[in-house]
């Protein structure tokens, strides 16, 4: 990865230009042509260094979501995780190193639908689901400063 790639990754995580030709504006900052910028981003996306250029939406502005957690016996973990994953409203589902070991995010159109998903998971698995919605958000997302060794 060269210095140009690093700049393209680090310097445009926020305040992406809101002008008709944003890639030309970025090019002007980095002494590159518009086409070169577009090609460089296409390569970074192709190599999966970036997931996209886009918007990070503040939580609970559109729809509702929560973090949920369960203490699942080891011998049932695969089966319960598969059931949780089967819900289209579940978009993250991880095993974490703790006795409360299954952690997932439920996102839906509204709080009622979120609650329904949690209730169905509890009923079906006969395990308690901890509902951990955001009470307050303290992180101002300014992007993530990458460092290269």
């Amino acid at each position: 990865m060269d210095d140009i790639d690093k700049a393209l990754l680090n310097d445009f995580q926020r305040d992406f230009p809101l002008v008709a030709r944003p890639y030309a504006e970025i090019g002007a900052c980095l002494s590159m042509s518009e086409d070169e910028v577009i090609e460089a981003y296409a390569n970074l996306a192709e190599q999966k260094y970036i997931s996209r250029i886009g918007a990070v939406i503040a939580p609970n502005q559109v729809g509702a979501s929560t973090l949920a957690a369960m203490r699942v016996p080891e011998d049932r973990l695969a089966e319960v995780a598969e059931f949780v994953t089967s819900f289209s409203q579940v978009n993250h589902n991880y095993e974490r190193e703790h006795d409360i070991n299954l952690w997932f995010v439920v996102a839906a159109d509204d709080v009622l639908e979120v609650g329904e998903v949690l209730s169905r998971i509890e009923a079906e698995t006969d395990l308690e689901v901890l509902n951990l919605p955001i009470i307050e958000d303290y992180h101002l997302d300014l992007g993530f400063k990458l460092e290269w060794a």
């Binding site: 393209l8 990754l9 030309a24 250029i53 886009g54 918007a55 559109v62 996102a107 009470i135 958000d137």
Partner: protein
Amino acid sequence: MIEISIEDRTLIELICDGLPLAARPYQVLGSRIGMAETEVIERLRNLIDGGVIRRFGVVVQHRRLGYTANGMSVWNVPDERVREVGEQMGQFEYVTLCYQRPRHAPSWPYNLFAMVHGAAKDKVLEQVQTIAETLELTHVERDVLFSRRQFKQCGARYGCKGKVDNEPCKTA
């Protein structure tokens, strides 16, 4: 916060898939929903200024860039200090999410969650220790939960239903 119109919602859904890599990306987006390029830009600016869109720009893949360890640090902070502590914790550059969430006594005593990214587990633990020392939280009950198996990861974000990365959800 500002009112979100139907047009804004449509635009938000669309922008979740990412900005097209074309010379005039806002025009391309607008053409998909019958909206003029200038209106797309104007609406995005209002959504950003109004705090609905928190950040607009390149979304990097931490894991792919070598930040392979992510630890969910959780803290039992006295209620009267949680806002002050949270606001400071959210400013550490390796903290990517920082929320107050409810406790569930007795099994879950923690009310502050901060996601900490690092190149390795040791590094993450070291960073958590630095946070604790800087914010005078060394006496506060805490834990760090590292992820083990990933069962599902859609890349979905708040306000973006379903997949957004033009690839199917990864399931184990």
